[in-house]
Symmetry: C2
Subunit: 490 residues, 2 copies
Amino acid sequence: MHQTPDPYRDIPLYPLVNPRSIAFFGASNRFSAMGTNQLNSVLSLGFKGKIYPVHPSEATVLGLPAYKSVADLPETPDLAVLVLPTAIVVQTLEECGRKGIRHAIVVSGGFKEMGPEGAVLEQELVAVARRYGIRFLGPNCLGVVNPHHLFNVTFAVFEGRPGFIGLASQSGSLLTQMFRYLEQFRIGFSAGLSVGNEATVDIVDCMEYLAACPHTKVIGLYIESIRRGRAFIEAARRIVPHKPIVAFYAGGSEAGRNAALSHTGSLAGPDRLYDGVFRQSGIVRADTLTELFDFCWVLGRCVPPQSRRMVVLTHSGGPGAAAADACSRNGLSLPRLNGTTREKLRPLVPSTGSLNNPVDLTFSKDPLEYFSAIPKVILEDPDTDGMLVYCFAPPKNMQRIMESQGLSLEDIDKLTEAVAEEIAKRSSGLAATLSKPVIGFTYQSSEMPIIRKLLENGLPVLPSPERGARAMAALARYRELAGKIGNQAG
Amino acid sequence: MHQTPDPYRDIPLYPLVNPRSIAFFGASNRFSAMGTNQLNSVLSLGFKGKIYPVHPSEATVLGLPAYKSVADLPETPDLAVLVLPTAIVVQTLEECGRKGIRHAIVVSGGFKEMGPEGAVLEQELVAVARRYGIRFLGPNCLGVVNPHHLFNVTFAVFEGRPGFIGLASQSGSLLTQMFRYLEQFRIGFSAGLSVGNEATVDIVDCMEYLAACPHTKVIGLYIESIRRGRAFIEAARRIVPHKPIVAFYAGGSEAGRNAALSHTGSLAGPDRLYDGVFRQSGIVRADTLTELFDFCWVLGRCVPPQSRRMVVLTHSGGPGAAAADACSRNGLSLPRLNGTTREKLRPLVPSTGSLNNPVDLTFSKDPLEYFSAIPKVILEDPDTDGMLVYCFAPPKNMQRIMESQGLSLEDIDKLTEAVAEEIAKRSSGLAATLSKPVIGFTYQSSEMPIIRKLLENGLPVLPSPERGARAMAALARYRELAGKIGNQAG
């Protein structure tokens, strides 16, 4: 079916995430049904492949011709999606097998997560899959999203863009709830997989897929329990030298463990055990869900720093001091700038400012210099490994100044946009030519003109000094971990 | 001047934050000048008092009649604001003193923060102030904002609402940069004071003012260095039993300390020392600037819990588990619900759901029940001290369902708004009748209809499970600290 020599297309999970055709079970014309919602999601993102709804009585489903049985389909589709009552899932998968279908997503719950009887049913499902050589995601999962393939088979409308974060998640709803969250930062998923009960496809398989996926620059994992410990570590160690992996583990505390137990029926281990597994695997650990995506963001956008010597650039003392403090607490050092660099900076920094580290302009004389000439001097210093830059531009104040020049509101909007664009271009040009990481931080909304432009031009601007510093430390941590694994392998 | 028996109006700083009339030095008709910007801020918020610009040559300043000298003013104003070149500040303050002015804000920099010569100049300024009995804020400060008095004498346009957070800050720009930040959460400042070099008014004086201010429900402090340690502790211990205080300390690490040193010229002490000072003072310590405002938010909105036994309510396993984990890590316990409560919840929770803690609905059957009937049962349990509730409603999905019912886009907007309003009313009604804290958490933007309505109705909805849990722990911490001080005093 997939006979191209491309190793990516040969990955077992490829048809699951990039199907050319789907048999869809459980969608109807009843709009409140989960399956209908899920098929609607597929349609609304504009999936280019064939969709064959299977329904016992409807002639059409959401405008598509429907089939009474999978046996009736005119071809053997790449993938079956099952959003059916628990009782008929096993039998339906069997019919899919008979038709020759080899990949499925079983959204239906009611299996292992419901106790011993469900576990027996799940064993039956796995037996059917083995008999026909079917790999299926789930059961009890939320599906898959692959924006690059215009494929979203989750119940949630996709609101976002094709991006570079590959997520494998033991929480399904987390995946869908991040669509819009990532969009605010102008980033997105390359692919997202909700693994559910992991009956035949587990988090390790997903890691292997995402490692091969060319759209994925960084792999994120939401973990409540790792079932195949050795395979997990081995896979991660193969991947990490080429592609960073970030993991959040929810079962670290007793309450987290109990929550995981009732959520996916998995038994989580003690926090320290997982800490060791991640370290051994070369995986950057995130302490919170917010960090999971912060770290993926910067790892996908920035070159990791050679070492941990950072410069903080600010025009405001408080946020600058908070960033410096957070750098220190996260193992980043803020060395004094050398004499040459200080001399080069002197004409660019107001007399009230400081040439220490943080470099503090005290006020923003010229935003263009702030985002280009000054960072250039700082980053060209061989003793600087990266930079954190405070981003803040009060639009109302800029507007007030422009109004005083007699500009119309329309002109002001255009000018603001143009200035923001110019700033963002210069700063992103800089980040591209120098192979050192630059991370912005702000308290402003991502919808403010300059912040928005910076994000659109690829500068990660994190929503607080502390998150900026933690993200920079994660970049440094990745290089250290990858280096260690590389050395051990070599 | 202020002879009402109201103790608030008798607080020495009252005319500084609530002036009826101002002499303004340093504004002109040149729009790029700092002083012009600052006077513009006063005008644009709609200050109701009298403003007397003083300018050597202009007949009017920003449309207001200007005076050549302060001696020429028709009355003695409550307050002088000085945004002047360093060299003429001392002499101008002297002229203000001669006119009988007893309060001033000295925005001008160039004093102690610039080294030994500046320190000498600052001593001269203090000597003048002593001679005339003037209390002044600064020098090297950013001014004051009091939205309840429509008074904003900072360079930034005020974008926000009158609120309940009283901030005293050793970083000036932090104050202005939070205007819009707080507004996104539908909260705001009661008053904000940038203390600058603290020559005659320090952070302790500001605490005393904010303690008396009836609009202030919670006091926030941004601290780089405490100059009067004993007075600070004594004042805090008097205030805390009646009004919570939250502090962020930027000088805890070496880098933070260096940054503070070049920012305000203050010598910060070791982290542990400040930790002790805050504990002894009964002050809730925030580890980050984000937390400073998170903690102020919930302390101003919620009753602190009797104890640390919490329930997490979710319809999504991942964020629920993350919240449970974060509760555990922050010393909150998630006990099993008792039999009675579980029986009452059973009919409200889908069969796929969980009656453990987190209570996990797995999907949101009825958002009205989720925000009223279910929380009611949980909070009426005498063994529950408070609740964290996951707030997430995908608007696009709701829209899709309504579209399928044949509703027009306009009807959908109206209906979404109405449902959101109803949910928010029920949940806020609940929070009002039960004296237990409820904190929401979400990954959605505060502009999503339901989140916005919840915020507008006074439910704090924090932007992640971890921030929600940390904020709840801060509430618990406040009760414990206040209780300890109360006992020691009694």
